[in-house]
Symmetry: C2
Subunit: 252 residues, 2 copies
């Protein structure tokens, strides 16, 4: 039986919305979640504004099993994730002595000014998430995991928590590259999808310098079913005269 465990990601950052920086966390989190049987089902990129963050946190934590956030947990005035998450949960924000102790591992006491101490303000009832890179912690409260935006720190935090997630059926995927216009095989593809509701078949066309075709990706929780669907797709495409390259199995 398929047990789907879902997640959403909230990217908090005006710098992504302005186009100044490109998000580098979505893909890492998507792949890492899938390895532990959790499926990323929605991502929202929102501004550094309390209303926007509160609305996204409350909408998504009610809909998905897990919610992750990245960004906005530093010492500056535009870092408002902790207070926004506290507000979303209706709990007070408290200076957390455990978090202060962690800051002191990195910051000399004489440099631990009020701005830096803001990084120890944590919603009441939250547990800390380790930050082995620079010590200022993330936290999780309920099903919401609050992490840094800087990729190296986010990745370290994420690796520390993801094996504690309770995952479901892991989604396997396999692809076949078909060198023919996707419109030629679309009807056959739809028939296979219709016959096989247990897999999800996606078609991703490409045009690489005049060589065009489509990559068909089959995703499902049962390896034999995925393999069978891939074989059907390949056979169907060959029937249309297409050159077909089935993805090699991953190295062991």
């Amino acid at each position: 039986m398929v047990n789907e465990v879902s997640a959403a990601l909230i990217v908090i950052g005006n710098e992504v919305l302005s186009g100044r920086t490109q998000d580098a966390n979505l893909q890492y989190i998507a792949l890492g979640l899938n390895e532990v049987g959790v499926r990323l089902k929605e991502v929202r990129v929102v501004t550094d504004e309390e209303d926007a963050i509160v609305a996204a946190v409350n909408a998504l934590r009610a809909t998905y099993n897990y919610v992750f956030t990245t960004g906005g947990i530093g010492p500056t005035h535009d870092d408002i994730t902790a207070e926004s998450v506290a507000k979303a949960f209706g709990v007070p924000l408290r200076r957390d002595p455990r978090a202060v102790e962690r800051l002191l591992r990195q910051i000399k006491p004489e440099n631990l000014n009020e701005a830096r101490l803001r990084m120890a303000n944590i919603p009441d009832g939250a547990d800390l998430i380790d930050n082995p890179v620079s010590h200022a912690p993330g936290f999780h409260i309920g099903n919401v995991y609050v992490m840094a935006g800087i990729p190296r720190i986010m990745q370290a935090m994420f690796e520390g928590v993801r094996h504690s997630l309770i995952g479901g059926s892991r989604l396997l995927s396999k692809s076949v590259t078909i060198y023919i216009g996707e419109g030629t095989i679309a009807t056959g593809l739809a028939e296979i999808q219709h016959r096989r509701p247990d897999v999800e078949i996606g078609s991703y066309p490409f045009n690489r310098g005049g060589i065009f075709g489509t990559v068909i990706v089959v995703r499902g929780t049962d390896a034999a079913t995925v393999e069978a669907a891939i074989a059907e797709v390949a056979e169907m495409a060959e029937g249309h005269g297409a050159t077909v390259e089935v993805e090699a199995p991953p190295p062991r």
Copy 2:
């Protein structure tokens, strides 16, 4: 007076949520919108599922001046953007003769099968968006602009429509790089932000191989105000003994 015109983007694609491909459209659209005075305020990445698309379209078109979507307008069974947008607007999906005519510019009549003709199914009342790359059109209905997901095609569609958008005040930005921990200047930065509500000051810390610091970005609609805020930030940081590099003016 500042006239803010806002936009949201919906990225439709399981392939982005699975981590298989990295979105390449957000940044292009963000920068392009800003040039015509439209600010990207929210992005949602949703699955190729009708309910998810309908919900995102209806939430965002009620909140922002413009909504853009990318992905899901090809000929295969997983391309369901057109019918989902029609459902969101409560209008029928119709086979559009103008769209069929465009498909025939690219596709020989004998190859224009039922699957490919799906690309001519357009919500009633929508206008077509040109696709100079491969002719299969996008469309816009109300304040929603539906575009392809393949970056080269998306970009061509976007360039065709963006100058028809009614923009507001254009957001200017300037940055200063400060080689000191952001916690040291956070209080001074907050004071400048407090005194200058007409600009938005962001702090983006970095650690480049052991050299750390933060990039302060000031955004606002008035060039003189942005310059003045940058000068204040630079002076404040220098007062803390930091090395400061103000972004050079753009080449003329």
